[in-house]
Symmetry: C2
Subunit: 152 residues, 2 copies
């Protein structure tokens, strides 16, 4: 188990140069309810199963396990809806920013995430950082599936 502490931000796209290469991610949820979800993800030709619990978006328990790619494909095919996005990593001040560029029904949404060791950890805010949306549950991937950005 790991406690996942992360902050999420929108970005100022005109100020951000994305790296040349990113990793495509396809994910779906076998279950999702308030404070509990089971995610199936495929990225870099690997499959992952992730259980997240807890209702505080800033800090949740996360249990992630790699599973065989064929299992992940089968389980994903049992998920009603999927999220597709490309993830770019930008290293800054020894920390990794994950920039997710969404596709499909969430096209137009670009989000930056940073993982922290404690909720009050200080870090450098790059100029391309927009408003913080950590506490806005609409931006949780599990919610973006049923209420995609394009319908807001």
């Amino acid at each position: 188990m790991a406690t996942e502490i992360e902050r999420k931000y929108l970005i100022k796209e005109d100020l951000l140069n994305l790296p040349a290469e990113g990793n495509r991610i396809v994910q779906g949820y076998l279950w999702s309810e308030k404070g509990k979800s089971l995610r199936i993800r495929i990225t870099k030709n690997k499959g992952f199963l992730t259980i997240k619990t807890g209702t505080n978006p800033l800090s949740r328990l996360e249990y992630e396990y790699e599973i065989p790619l064929t299992d992940a494909e089968e389980l994903l095919s049992q998920c009603e809806k999927k999220i597709e996005k490309t993830r770019f990593i930008i290293e800054l001040d020894g920390m990794n920013w994950e920039i997710d560029v969404f596709e499909g029904e969430n096209k137009g949404l670009v989000m930056a995430e940073i993982e922290l060791e404690s909720a009050d950890q200080k870090f450098e805010k790059p100029e391309w950082l927009g408003i913080e949306v950590t506490d806005d549950k609409r931006y949780l991937n599990v919610n973006l599936i049923n209420q995609p950005y394009s319908l807001w």
Copy 2:
């Protein structure tokens, strides 16, 4: 993924001699709904996470992964209710019968399961075998949690 094909039976307890040693199993469900469940199990000091899908009790898809024991303990503590049982293995004719002796609210229930390679596979029926309950969904572990045997 494996397709799990199994038949379940009650047993004639007066005709069955259990082996001296069995394995204690504690399990709970993080999710369970019609045709889909996520089971957390601890046995032999190991943790397992199992997704089962499909509505036919005779044949379901099963995805099982070993997970760290501490993860399994934490996830089990998040399950509202648990099943406790001891599993004895009896080998017969090259096939393994699993005899589950339930405890707690399901005390009094003893069930035999055999895993098959196909739904119509023939196998020897030992004299201690009682009526088949494969199609009786009350006997699914996932249902025994909420409607335990002692309340029938």
